[in-house]
């Protein structure tokens, strides 16, 4: 899954450029802030399919137990979803300025003014396992 990389180059100038690994001639490694990211990988060889998911490992990272049959059942389905996302790789982005985020909404912050949530009882009541005053949670540490 991690064989491709998206390189975002954000120089000192406000003008952004998107480049892929195959055309590094325009890439001057001066003040790069770049990220490569697994889910939004940008393909250098656009057509090739993404690496098939390692379903048992995925399940493990999500703390989900799957039987071998389920693994076999889910693998093609997950591959299909990734395939759909893979279609995005075909979009020509050469003339598009990269954005840090897709949305344009800004200034969505709040003041540092305390407000007590007034229906705490309902929240507490919805906790599957509560032992006043603590919430009990499944053991997740040192599982390995």
């Amino acid at each position: 899954m991690g064989s491709r990389g998206l390189l975002l180059l954000k120089g000192a100038t406000p003008k952004h450029q998107i480049l892929n690994f195959g055309r590094t001639t325009a890439f001057t490694p001066k003040l790069p802030i770049y990220f490569h990211h697994k889910l939004c990988n940008y393909s250098t060889t656009t057509r090739s399919s993404l690496e098939p998911p390692d379903v048992p490992r995925l399940a493990e990272t999500a703390r989900i137990s799957l039987t071998p049959t389920e693994v076999e059942e889910f693998a093609p389905k997950i591959r299909q979803v990734i395939g759909w996302f893979g279609q995005l790789q075909a979009v020509d982005l050469n003339s598009v300025d990269p954005a840090i985020r897709a949305d344009t909404e800004t200034d969505n912050v709040r003041d540092d003014t305390p407000e007590t949530f007034n229906n705490r009882e309902a929240v507490i009541a919805a906790i599957p396992s509560y032992e006043e005053p603590y919430i009990k949670v499944p053991k997740v540490l040192n599982k390995e």
């Binding site: 939004c40 912050v109 540092d112 305390p114 007590t116 390995e144």
Partner: protein, 533 residues
Amino acid sequence: MASMLFRTIQTHPFLLYPTTLLRRNNAVLYCTLKSAHTQTAAQEEQQKPPQIKGSPQTRQAKTKTLDKISKDYETIIGIETHVQLSTLTKAFCSCPYNYGTQPNTSICPICMGLPGALPVLNSKVIEFAVKLGLALNCKLSLNSKFDRKQYFYPDLPKGYQISQFDIPIATGGYLDVDLPVEFGGGHRRFGVTRVDLNRAGVPLLEIVSEPDMRTGLEAAEYAAELQRLVRYLGVSNGNMQEGSLRCDVNVSIRPVGQLKFGTKVEIKNLNSFSSINRAIDFEIARQALLHSQGEDDQIVQETRLWEEGSQKTVTMRKKEGLADYRYFPEPDIPEVILMKEYVDSIQSSLPELPEMKRRRYEKMGLSMQDVLFLANDINVAQFFDATIANGADVKLAANWIMGDIAAYMKNEKLTINDIELTPEELAELIASIKSATISGKIGKEILFELMAKGGTVNGIIKEKNLVQIVDPSEIEKMVDKVLSENPKQLEQYRGGKTKLQGFFAGQVMKISKGKANPGLLNKILLEKLNAKC
């Protein structure tokens, strides 16, 4: 930027540390460093001697070992610091946050991670991050974003932390540190790679240092300076006991000359500057021992815990490869955009920072010891500044604060804000002594009364009739009285036992109730004593 800083620093140790050149044949110098009488990390070291292995002999043996190690191995230390911001509410919801409140009382659907609840960022978090970023001389990212860092932890209901991953809000800064060493006070500059906004719930800022530090003391002093900085800025209380300032330290060593970095070990559970110092020195010694026994493969990438009781680091968990946090951009939080005007207004409102304060105090002519003491605590520094703003002599003000006032605060377990004495009255007191209205001795008495009960210098002087007697005829009368009452001593004095002058002076002072001007008293006394010889 980072590598440039790194190189700059690499050239420094030999210039700044005359001791590194001397260590070969002199282990004692290192001890001097540990016992330096200054009020910073080293001071804490002094106040809290290690409970178990604290005997001077073992300390010295340890020091010798460290000296030998520093000859053969290069230590590389980096620190990751989490600063809990002193906002009134949490980072992404309006739940109030106070240390020590009952469990699960300040909760809401957002911080509980309930489905459909959307986080909204606290603007104060950004403000504090910008403040700290600027104070650390960082380059700010005018556009930054949050990411999801996915892992499981009992207190992480959503299964991910809203954090910053690849575009932190501030990068590439540095922190100037004065090492509290007696021999000249080394000055070091440590690089900071990134300051990023971190962790949902209560807002934390993570400050990652460059691996610029070489000794436990340097690391402890870096942490102490960060604490000073966040307190000066008012972005955090910096309290290590409460966990408002947490330091995780990465230590690796490599044989001198080896290019490849050694395996790094992370140390957690460091609750004080002295534990940072000692944990690192222990870890260096542990790793060096494994190296020297050819067992360097036993040094594995792991997280170790510092055990205060046994003064040791012990394995907490070994890492099987790098954790896969599967970061991706946080869809619930929009991009963080900083306007230039916003950053400029914060920049212009920054207070005088510890480093600037120290340099200013230095220029006033104060000694390094005075400078480090006064600038260590923002409240003490402000008290001092206010005192001299009221016209007090700089050195005298420093002496009073570091002497009798500090001793009183220590005995009574009070901070400078708790005592009743005001900077105005301290200035008045100093002026009254300088103008000879009162004697230094009386001044001291007034000081203690002011600290305990408040009031004004002039009020106390009037109320207790403490004005210094500067009228020569009045003093003369008292001298005559003393001389006539002690004919035997007078005879002895005139017979050559001139040491008795002190006795007479004491007697006169006594009947003047400490108010006689000492200079005048001695002058008149001597005249009278020697008059008939």
